[in-house]
């Protein structure tokens, strides 16, 4: 099934520059329906409010709620638990990847990353586009 290029994507990062970078890269990939949040708790509110997001792309190291905790909350929520969730983070130790995997992450991108990597990981999660 073809990917809906109008799907809502939520990007979560406490660096506004990184939000802007990811937004622009997504726009270049053809996705324009993008919302932003600056920490996990704000993102969780947005996800629960509408429930119509097709993908979450989240940083890890944020306060007050980290990306890992957001992921756990999403997976524990009956309505959100199947939400595709990509972690984009500078945390690159194996224990981080294992913790994210155990929490149910869909894919994991280490910063700094390029547009090609972002596209490849998105395709592995939501399908070819």
């Amino acid at each position: 099934m073809a990917v809906d290029m109008n799907m809502k994507i939520l990007i979560v990062d406490d660096y506004k520059t990184m939000l802007r970078i990811i937004r622009n890269l997504l726009r270049q990939l053809g996705f324009n329906n993008i919302d932003e949040a600056m920490d996990g708790s704000a993102a969780l509110q947005m996800l629960r409010a509408t429930g119509d997001y097709g993908l979450v792309i989240s940083d890890w190291n944020m306060e007050p709620m980290t990306g890992l905790q957001l992921l756990r909350e999403v997976r524990a929520d009956a309505k959100l638990k199947s939400m595709p969730f990509i972690m984009v983070t500078a945390e690159s130790k194996s224990e981080n990847v294992i913790a994210a995997k155990e929490a149910g992450v869909s894919n994991y991108i280490v910063k700094p990353f390029n547009a090609e990597t972002l596209k490849a990981k998105m395709q592995s999660v939501i399908g070819e586009f």
């Binding site: 520059t17 306060e63 980290t66 500078a90 130790k93 294992i98 910063k111």
Partner: protein, 209 residues
């Protein structure tokens, strides 16, 4: 003959056997006193050396100044990155006026600039780690001062303060809802060699479990 007594008060006349034992105890006691005195001198010297190092300067001047400078770097790079992004987005908008081939070249360059702008996030996190390290040094200096009861007034013969400063609280603020063990996972960017590459991460994700 009277026996030795640390108090100077003559004791009862010892038997030949007990006299030798008491003399040994007394000499041992004298050595202990000497060692305690030497230890006290050592602590006093260490305390004076610490004061001479002006540790308050480390706490009150050097570390706050360094932390402020690092914060300024983060702010300056963030501001510059925003400017770069503004310019690149303006350039990207010109693509509609170009030929398809030129638009592709422009978009390729623009994408690379966006990717490169991620440096601001990475350097910001690295600088935050340095600031956290400085805070740790500051705390340890404070704890060391408290341990030695170092006060410049000591050099003038004043008694040590009764209320020594308590150690500063930890710098890391746990994120709300995080499990305690999650704090250990917040390491930030790693140096090349210590970090896993994207290929390693992909393999780990594909692995069993």
């Amino acid at each position: 003959m009277t026996g030795f007594s640390p108090t100077g008060v003559p004791g009862p006349a010892p038997t030949p056997d007990s006299s030798t034992g008491r003399a040994s105890d007394f000499l041992g006691g004298l050595r202990l006193v000497d060692e305690i005195r030497a230890l006290a001198d050592y602590i006093d010297t260490a305390r004076r050396d610490l004061v001479a190092l002006r540790p308050q300067d480390i706490q009150e001047r050097f570390i706050p100044t360094a932390a402020d400078e690092l914060d300024a770097i983060v702010q300056a790079t963030e501001s510059a990155t925003e400017d770069i992004m503004d310019c690149v987005e303006a350039l990207e908008g010109l693509g509609e006026r170009l030929s398809p081939a030129d638009t592709e070249i422009l978009n390729g360059a623009v994408t690379r600039i966006y990717e490169a702008c991620a440096f601001q996030d990475i350097t910001g996190q690295r600088i935050t780690k340095v600031v956290r390290t400085l805070k740790n040094i500051e705390e340890r200096v404070g704890a060391m001062l408290a341990t030695f009861s170092v006060n410049p007034a000591l050099l003038a013969g004043a008694p040590p303060p009764e209320d020594t400063p308590a150690p500063l609280p930890p710098t890391h603020v746990a994120a709300v809802g995080d499990r305690p063990e999650d704090q250990a996972l917040l390491n930030g960017p790693q140096h090349t060699g210590a970090a896993m590459g994207q290929d390693d991460i992909d393999a780990l994700l594909r692995g069993p479990g």
